[in-house]
């Protein structure tokens, strides 16, 4: 069983579960994330994305329902280390997840916690730094790095644990466009070259375009789930829950609303240009 499964999961942060109307951060989630895929989770602030992420690696335990990672139940304390090793997590603020004062020591932190023998930690650290393209910064202090570089170190720290899944919870939110590109490219290459399942949580629509699957959350529930083309063809629905769509999608959407017959679900500038060219040449 290589997947992450949510079975009817609800979670509330309130500590009095006997209250009549409990504010659930996520409710009745049924979800399966297959190994090897690249998934993007979209949703506005407070829609429950981070809660969902923390339920996966047992930082939070479901109030009701069950979460399993490769068949291991997160609520079984004996599984917890293995689950956290299998599911790596990178957060939003790069400064608040780097522990050590030297880059390579920080990358070694995870394997050290797992009790990996020293020489193997060394080779894992080299491998991980290489995978994120940060080998030359091995001996730098974290505060000497840019935001994007710090995030790549955080990713390397996760890779050194040899995970099968990596969750990036708004890891690009505090970065400039260049830093965002760095992280997205790194995530993409991990998925394609290392066969690591990536779950990218974001509210930048452009980041969803190249995913295998897009999950849209609103108010603690999954409201849409499918290929990017499918999700972005429902512009009205996305707008209703306060989400934007990529600019090319928006353009074609507005044109079709004006009566032009253009296809829905187009997400890249190139596809949009091709569609427009075809439409104009037909001269309708």
């Amino acid at each position: 069983m290589s997947n992450i499964v949510f079975e009817n999961v609800s979670y509330t942060y309130t500590e009095q579960p006997n209250l009549s109307n409990i504010p659930f951060a996520v409710k009745n989630i049924n979800l399966t994330i297959e190994k090897g895929s690249s998934v993007v989770i979209l949703g506005h602030n407070g829609s429950g994305k981070s809660t969902l992420a923390k339920l996966i690696n047992g930082i939070l335990l479901p109030t009701s329902g069950k979460v399993t990672v490769n068949g291991m139940d997160t609520s079984n304390q004996e599984n917890i280390l293995e689950i956290r090793r299998t599911v790596g997590m990178v957060f939003q603020n790069p400064d608040n997840q780097i522990v050590a004062t030297v880059v390579e020591e920080d990358v070694a932190f995870g394997p050290e916690n797992l009790g990996v023998p020293p020489h193997e930690i060394r080779s894992r650290v080299e491998y991980a730094l290489n995978a994120v393209g940060m080998s030359e910064f091995r001996l730098h202090a974290p505060h000497q790095l840019s935001g994007g570089q710090k995030q790549r170190i955080a990713i390397a720290g996760v890779i050194a644990m040899k995970p099968q899944y990596i969750i990036l919870d708004e890891s690009t939110a505090m970065l400039d466009p260049y830093g965002r590109r760095e992280i997205l490219d790194t995530a993409h290459s991990l998925n394609k070259n290392e066969n690591i399942t990536t779950v990218l949580i974001t509210h930048y629509m452009e980041e969803a375009v190249y995913a295998d699957r897009v999950i849209v959350m609103n108010d603690g529930s999954v409201v849409m789930d499918g290929s990017p083309a499918y999700v972005f063809s429902n512009v009205d629905k996305l707008k209703a829950i306060g989400l934007d769509v990529p600019q090319p999608t928006e353009l074609l959407y507005l044109l079709s609303k004006d009566g032009h017959k253009l296809p829905a679900g187009i997400m890249t500038v190139k596809d949009a240009a091709d569609a427009l060219e075809k439409y104009l040449l037909k001269g309708e």
Partner: protein
């Protein structure tokens, strides 16, 4: 800049002192401190000076740096020296102004006291601060204290706290600067007014700083848990510290040095000290 504070006084380099195992540096410093307090006559003090000079030369640290490091103790050294000079009583006064009598014993005592304090500061800062990064020192302390774990001393936890503190000092300093600038942009004034006003002006800096530090601590704890941190049990380390032959040579030299200091004390001299 302030941010480099984590490096402490560390000057990276390749000298024999830099290469010494940090655990051995701690052991050697301890022996050195004991030897300093055993020194009792002019010969043993001469050896102290010689040894400090050798350490300085071997470290490759600039003399100006070492002198600067002595600055904070100048006042206390001069003060105690003066007290020693005027208060020590001997047999025949060197200078006699009626009430004020200066005896040669006083001058010797003052001189020896200066040598003691200066070689103590120079020796330990050369070994533990100028040639050792704080992180190496923390690591070495954790390993040296390891046996105390059996007595339920939370050695690993203390070392972890030190590491995290060192890691976050630059971050928090940067943040303080940001908050100060933000408050200045709103017209806050930190530089004028009496002490009370200035302290009051610090409140709008400290409150956001504390709130943010707590948030950071919270997020860091979760991030550490996500990376399988569960205390020191079953934890390994990437870096293996191994004593080299040179470390034992150092230890040997140090032992010879302390024994010599001890023996030199028995050479009879005419100078009488008050301690």
């Amino acid at each position: 800049m302030l941010k480099d504070i984590t490096l402490g006084q560390f000057f990276p380099g390749n000298s024999p002192l830099h290469k010494m195992d940090p655990r051995m540096k701690i052991i050697i410093s301890a022996i050195f401190i004991v030897a300093i307090f055993f020194a009792k006559n002019i010969f043993s003090f001469a050896l102290l000076i010689l040894f400090s000079l050798i350490l300085t030369t071997l470290s490759g640290i600039k003399h100006s740096v070492i002198l600067k490091g002595l600055k904070p103790i100048v006042f206390i050294v001069v003060f105690t020296a003066i007290i020693n000079i005027f208060w020590t009583k001997g047999e025949t006064p060197l200078i006699n102004f009626g009430i004020i009598k200066i005896y040669p014993e006083g001058i010797y005592t003052a001189a020896f006291m200066i040598i003691r304090v200066v070689s103590l500061v120079v020796g330990t800062s050369l070994l533990l601060s100028y040639t050792t990064s704080p992180i190496a020192l923390t690591d070495a302390l954790e390993r040296l204290m390891n046996p105390l774990k059996k007595l339920k001393v939370p050695v690993h936890e203390f070392a972890m706290m030190m590491t995290i503190a060192l890691r976050f000092i630059p971050t928090l300093i940067e943040e303080t600067e940001k908050i100060m600038n933000a408050q200045k942009a709103r017209g806050a004034d930190f530089e004028s007014g009496n002490l009370l006003n200035r302290l009051k002006a610090l409140v709008p800096i400290l409150i956001p700083l504390f709130i943010s530090a707590f948030r950071r601590a919270d997020e860091l704890a979760v991030a550490m848990e996500c990376r399988c941190y569960h205390g020191g049990d079953g934890r390994t380390k990437m870096k293996i510290l191994r004593f080299s032959v040179f470390d034992f040579v150092w230890l040997f030299v140090m032992l010879i040095f302390s024994v010599s200091v001890f023996c030199l004390n028995y050479i009879p001299t005419t100078i009488k000290l008050s301690f």
